[in-house]
Amino acid sequence: MPPLFPERASTIAARVDALYFFLLAIAIFFGLLIAGLIVYYAVKFHRRSPSAVGARIHGGMVLEVTWTVVPLLITMVIFVWGASVYFAMAHPPDETLNIYVVGKQWMWKFQHLDGQREINELHVPVGRAVKLITTSEDVIHDFFVPAFRVKADVLPGRYVTIWFQPTRPGRYHLFCAEYCGTRHSGMIGEVVVMEPNEYETWLSGGAAEGSLASAGAKLFQDLACNTCHRPDAQGRGPMLEGLFGKTVTLQSGETVTVDEAYVRESILTPSAKITAGFQPIMPTFQGLVTEEQLLALIEYVKSLQAQPQVTAK
């Protein structure tokens, strides 16, 4: 017997299913009500002579109001319920295990902070909130894990975050759910949910190249970013230590929060949002850094927050 209902392997899945069953009950009730009335009336009032006509009934205000207001109230209940589930999906908890995801035609690339890289397979521990920071190298993709009831478009030029908390170890389908070209249906993989100790073992097995932030630090030197972005506030560019998550004032007087998207934009289109007090002298790195290198640089900038002393020399 093939499955008729999907596995449930995340904290949000039960909430989605509860609303789904409520909707199913409403749909079955009204579906049977209408079908039942149609069949009943079709039989009971079946035309018995060729010249027969129906009763002259033109309508009834009480009925009209009833079947306008009752569905309206029911739909408002569904709206609030659906919105609350969505709020939970949209707001990850403060403490998350962060993993970067890059989609491209036609594969999923995962970058763990400790340095492990995976393709089309994502290992995560059970019981911890996982936050994916996703982007695409080319067209729009979509990260979909049915067992988690989680789905979001993965957009080029933007960082979309997705979060879930797995509740059961196992291997679960990962699908690309936004049509992305010839091998769209081959852009699939698996999310492997592991017991925490197994996950630790797996984690310590892979990383050969050091953490993602250290890869970013090396890149920061290789691209000579450190000649201007110096830790001593004497550079020609803003000091990056402690910058991530802060709000900075721009030349235009506007303010902007330093998040992944702003760091990315500042590397690719430096002149777009100049910090007040600095000259627009930074060259663009458009075409010089890949999406994955950008993620390493972002992670490096993030890491500068905790330990302002550890800087590229």
Binding site: P2, L4, V16, Y20, L23, I26, A27, I34, I38, Y41, A42, F45, R47, S51, A52, V53, G54, A55, I57, H58, G59, G60, L63, T68, P71, L72, T75, M76, I78, F79, W81, G82, A83, S84, V85, Y86, M89, D138, V139, I140, F144, P146, K151, A152, D153, L155, P156, R158, V160, H173, F175, C176, A177, E178, Y179, G181, T182, H184, S185, G186
Partner: protein, 538 residues
């Protein structure tokens, strides 16, 4: 029953040459030209669906290549949406009925009406050429930046074909709006009009207001593809999600372009099938207008997972629930109309039952999609495919076939074989449900749409769906046969074979070219039945 003769002079014997058809300005002949056009494109789109379902009978992609599969579902969607579902009821039934139902001789702009048909045919053949000579693999949705940067197929020719065809929708819509405003017979007030005209009017408003937006969007896609302007491609400063806003701003209302006319048809079928007034006439009439207006404000519900902000998602969610209300009101009113009716079991009414049942399922599953928390899981899966096929195939095509059977005696002057017609209505209903109901289940399981190959645990449900599709295909072919057959061998219909009221049943079958020998004067409300009726069948 009296002996029925064909009228000596009617629109079908008013000239037999090719020129008398291709240069006609008679709205009834143009309706038949459209009938030929939409039927042609329907069977092309249908053939693609057959190949898609054959491929999906087995999990691996083994019948056609992935590239071919992507072109098949694109072609299926483009043909069915733009060249069948959007034009079908307004262009065939609307063209035939709008002037007759208001007691006019023709539409306000007969030459523009013919021009609309030529634009439709040119656009259709252009697109067909683009699809055959290399194909298109973007899906009917043309999402950027895939369509503007990555796809190597015939994006521009296909887009231009759709662009051209849009003008046909705009002109037809304009023609209907002006005709309904200006050409009603003496005494035919707005609230005496048949409900089909209210829904045709609402549809025409959407056509006139919405179609230019998709036309502009298509031009932007073409401009980005050819000149590399950065509208949608983030690599050159564009926003890929902007395309989706523009696209759905038209394409969501387009859903109502497809289903509102079918709702109008069903109001006529239910009234005639029960021989009594539609319950809550003015509620049904205003529900059409409410749907047309609200339909423009819900496009964002296609984009809950597309990177839309949390708060705009909430707004679009609540508006989507609101647009469900007028549809529900209509369903309740149709059902209530049956109470104490003289309820018929003839073919048109069978289609009306089918429409109400299937549209109800389509509408109720729409609530699942408006609830954002559930939509996140089911969007872009087969749940969506099932939902919109219940609306468009279960709704629009059931309404269209019901209307075609109801007005066929008027259009042709002859009756079809009632037994075969009932049989095929039953086959279509069963085939439809077998095709699309399993897709709700496999969609909630997580099978994404537009997948050429899929995991083996989804196979049983897909096989059921493919089996249903083959039944549905047979169901669609049978009417082709008996309707054609009836043109020559069918019994003569007489002017009013159903014993229905409405101006179209007061003139001969087929009607004369000028519709009425003298302009009718209307002194009665729609669906006002006498104490008993006489049917007029040979």
């Amino acid at each position: 029953m009296s002996t029925v003769l064909l009228p000596p002079r009617h629109y079908l014997n008013d000239g037999y040459g090719v020129r008398s058809w291709l240069l006609t300005r008679d709205h009834k002949r143009i309706a038949l030209l459209y009938l030929a056009g939409v039927t042609f494109f329907f069977f092309i789109g249908g053939a693609m669906a057959v190949l898609i379902r054959l491929e999906l009978a087995t999990p691996p992609g083994d019948l056609v290549t992935d590239e071919t599969y992507n072109k098949l579902f694109t072609m299926h969607g483009v043909m069915m949406v733009f060249f069948f579902l959007i034009p079908v009821i307004p262009s065939v039934l609307g063209n035939f009925l709008v002037p007759i139902m208001i007691g006019a001789k023709d539409l306000a702009f007969p030459k523009i009406n013919l021009l609309s048909w030529y634009i439709y045919v040119v656009g259709g053949l252009f697109t067909l050429y683009a699809l055959i000579s290399g194909g298109l693999d973007t899906g009917w949705t043309f999402y950027t930046p895939f369509s503007t940067v990555a796809s190597t197929t015939n994006v521009i020719p296909a887009a231009l074909g759709i662009f051209i065809t849009g003008f046909s929708s705009i002109l037809t819509g304009l023609n209907f709006i002006v005709t309904i405003h200006r050409m009603r017979a003496p005494g035919m007030t707005w609230f005496r009009m048949p409900l089909f005209l209210w829904s045709t009017y609402a549809t025409s408003l959407i056509n006139v207001l919405g179609t230019p937006v998709i036309a502009i969007t298509i031009l932007l896609v073409a401009a980005e593809r050819v000149f590399h302007f950065g509208f949608f491609n983030p690599a050159v400063g564009g926003d890929p999600v902007l395309f989706q806003h523009l696209f759905w701003f038209y394409s969501h209302p387009a859903v109502y372009i497809m289903v509102l006319p079918a709702m109008g048809v069903v109001s006529e079928l239910v009234a005639a099938g029960c021989r009594k007034p539609v319950f809550g006439y003015s509620f049904v009439a205003f529900a059409s207008l409410a749907i047309a207006v609200l339909g423009f404000l819900v496009w964002g519900h296609h984009m809950f997972v597309a990177g839309e902000s949390v708060y705009s998602a909430l707004i679009f969610s609540i508006l989507s629930f609101l647009v469900a209300i007028p549809s529900a009101v209509k369903v309740f009113n149709w059902t209530a109309t049956m109470y104490q009716g003289a309820v018929s079991w003839e073919t048109p009414m069978l289609y009306a039952y089918g429409f109400i049942g299937l549209f109800t399922i389509g509408g109720l599953t729409g609530l699942f999609l408006a609830a954002i928390g559930v939509d996140v899981h089911v969007t872009d899966t087969y749940f969506i495919i099932a939902h919109f096929h219940y609306i468009m195939v279960g709704g629009t095509i059931m309404g269209y076939l019901g209307g075609l059977h109801y007005w066929w005696p008027k259009m042709s002057g002859r009756l079809y074989n009632e037994g075969l017609a009932k049989l095929s209505a039953g086959i279509i209903f069963i085939g439809f449900n077998l095709t699309f109901f399993p897709q709700f289940v496999v969609g909630y399981l997580g099978m994404p749409r537009r997948y050429h190959a899929y995991p083996p645990e989804f196979q049983v449900l897909n096989v059921l769906s493919s089996a249903g599709a083959s039944i549905l295909g047979v169901g669609y072919l049978i009417p082709m046969v008996y309707l054609m057959w009836s043109l020559r061998y069918g019994r003569l219909a007489g002017s009013n074979p159903w014993g229905a009221v409405g101006l179209e049943w007061t003139t001969s079958s087929p009607p004369p070219t000028e519709n009425f020998t003298e302009t009718p004067r209307v002194t009665w409300d729609a669906y006002e039945y006498p104490a008993s009726v006489e049917t007029d069948v040979a």
